[in-house]
């Protein structure tokens, strides 16, 4: 069953067509990758899904709700969370606080409850910090809650960003190049972690990634974009053999070799 359905999506910037007539169906609890050369429109797609860009034509649906025209904060409340290509934590907040910000939309206490310190508010805060601690542990950052986000090492920042996104309790998690800048060992760990995420939490993962090892290793379905258009879609093995994909990545004339698979 599809959890995210993108139909006929088009996004233009002036004369530049960043995404053109795109159709994607993301199956529930799948790991679905979007790949393509630089400038293919992958991050633009993420920005359309999470509400930062408003597409000109087309529809994006989460289950039965259309997300087009909603603000980013409304979309995250519907259940789509994301991370960023260049890590965007709140640098001067602690790791704990970063996660607590992610929990924001699940907390209810109002202005006067906070100022008066009502029991309901206190209880909610306590529960929130328990959940944040649990999430820290989940991403292997237990004990680092009091460090400022900017002082964490790179790999920890990546994982903290994922924890912050998880704090919003998403149905769909969009990861934008999570393996960027990682060595083979680290990306192997990341692949295991992403699989564990999906299995343990039952969420759907939408992944943009450049490291083919990662993409081919964990994806159940791969969509390939080039110049804003979908040029191929299928299992990793199918996509790898597609001549159009090879051409997009390596240039015309490279696709003469018959595929081994």
């Amino acid at each position: 069953m599809a959890v995210v359905t993108i139909t006929n999506l088009t996004k233009q910037f002036g004369g530049l067509v960043a995404i053109e007539n795109l159709d994607i169906e993301v199956k529930e609890q799948s790991i679905h990758s979007v790949i393509g050369p630089n400038g293919a429109g992958k991050t633009t797609l993420f920005n359309c899904i999470t509400g930062f860009y408003r597409p000109e034509i087309g529809d994006i649906r989460l289950d039965d709700h259309s997300l087009v025209g909603l603000m980013p904060d409304q979309i995250v409340r519907h259940g789509i969370a994301r991370t960023y290509q260049n890590i965007r934590l709140f640098p001067d907040l602690t790791a704990m606080e970063n996660i607590l910000v992610g929990l924001h939309s699940h907390l209810r206490s109002g202005y006067f409850g906070i100022v008066l310190g009502l029991p309901a508010t206190r209880k909610e805060e306590k529960k929130a910090s328990e959940e944040a601690l649990r999430l820290l542990k989940f991403v292997n950052l237990a004990g680092k809650g009091d460090l400022l986000a900017k002082n964490l090492p790179y790999g920890n920042q990546r994982r903290l960003e994922i924890a912050r996104a998880l704090a919003t309790r998403p149905k769909v998690l969009c990861l934008d190049e999570p393996a960027a800048g990682m060595n083979p060992k680290e990306s192997q760990d990341l692949m295991d972690f992403i699989r564990h995420l999906r299995d343990a939490l039952g969420i759907t993962i939408l992944l943009i990634e450049h490291q083919m090892r990662v993409v081919m290793g964990i994806s159940e379905k791969v969509t390939v974009l080039d110049y804003g258009k979908k040029i191929a879609e299928g299992t990793p093995a199918e996509v790898q053999c597609n001549p159009q994909v090879i051409e997009a990545y390596l240039g015309r004339g490279s696709a003469t070799q018959p595929c081994a698979a």
Partner: protein
Amino acid sequence: MNPALTQRFPGIRLGLIGGACLVLLSLIGMVEAFNQREIISDVISMGQTLLLLTAVFIGYLAAKRGRERGQGLVFGAGITAGLIMAGMLALLVLLGHAINMRQVFINASPALFQILIFQQEELWAGIGLLMLAGVLIGLSAALLCLLPHWLRRVITTGLCSVAVVGLLQDLIAPIFSAWDPLASLIELIFPGNGLSISGAVGLLIVVAALSAFWSFKGQAVQTRIQALPPQSRRGLNLAALLAGVIVLLVIPQVLGLFLSEVMTIVGLYVLLGLGLNIVVGFAGLLDLGYVAFFAIGSYTMAILTSPELGFFDWNFWQALPLAILFGVLAGVILGVPVLKMRGDYLAIATLGFGEIIRIMVLSDFLRPWLGGAQGIGKIPKAEIAGFEFATPQEIYYLILAGCALVGFISWRLRDSRLGRAWMAVREDEDVAQAMGINLVATKLLAFATGAGFSALSGAIFATKLGSVYPHSFNVMISINILCVIIVGGMGSMPGVAVGALALVGLPELLREFADYRLLVYGAALMAMMLLRPEGLWPEATRQRELHEEESVVRASKLAEGTAEPRS
């Protein structure tokens, strides 16, 4: 300037810079104006202290630069810098004697030159003395540079406290001479204008001893406090808090009329600062029109209570909620159009808003309702059950109560869902929105809360003064409040109090500063940005109950032997 020359003699460049500073300080009249106040009677005045501190600081920098080039250059660089600085002052004196500079530099008076040459009758003897002083300053700066770190710290702390005590003699002497056992001691230390020599030496020794003790034992004391069980540490914090409250309550009784008046002004700035701290410090929205809400609070109070206009005849307590409400509403009204603006654009738009309010109040069109340039007078004092808050000492308590309330609300908000949302918006607006934070509501709440605090401050200001005038609400107030929170430490609540004391309280105490207030503000801001960008009392990385819970979890894990101890 030849780069090779400054390479070889590192004191030259700094000496020239320092000399230019000293000449500037002299020519703008600071030295002469400050010379009225003696720091140590008949030994050194505040003006001379100013020059001396600047010269020693520059000399120290030069000596340090010299030491980086090689041991031998420490004295060379220090003395070169000292001589150049003295030489530039000497040139100024000679120039002043040769031609009349007062057409251009009105402060280049004979009196100034006499100060610079140590009141010597003979010009050349004075110049010689000045050069000698330069050499001595360079020498002592170099020695200071060679001392071990702790000793340097002890000496500078001691000397600085003597300077500060001398500076604040008008504050310290009257307070303590009221108490009998201390009165004779105070008479000994402050015989007249400035400290006595024995008083200064005694103070230096006491402070230096304390400082030395702290530099050796401080670490141990701190670790011992850290090692205390949470319960007794909490007790210690509570005791400190209690002591602070008692001091705050007793202050006006001890300080007397004038200083209590100063404290009320500081208190009003603390109130304003706490409000702006929410907008700028927490939510990162640079608001330069903050004075508008102060004005709205004041004018609401005036219109509702003053019999002069005769619309209403309410008392302070009836009008106060409405004043705050109008402030909050104005905050929302300002907030809506500027929601999409960031950074510089927001600052300019809010600046405009502040001016609009001031010009409206000043306008002839609204004169029948707002009093125009004449303002509104006869605002009654606040009153509770027959007790009137009339004198500065009484109004101080009113302001203290306001500060306590506002501080409490800020503190609660900061550690809440809302405070985190504000800080997330400050750090990265787009990501904050992507984390489910409604930007409109969050920003408007910040504007409204800050505006409410400002209006409260304005209402108290109106009843304190008994009248309101448009010129009390010019843009400088906004700038001053912003300076207070920058100097205190953005986002830090104790920082607001420290900043207000330093930037508002001190200039009130040191009358000589009045003319140079803006200059000192500018210098202080630049120094802060360079030396201590986090502010005087920055917000500590907060270690809340969470931390304790976490360490409890870790301890229990350790007991089970499942977790390795954190390094």
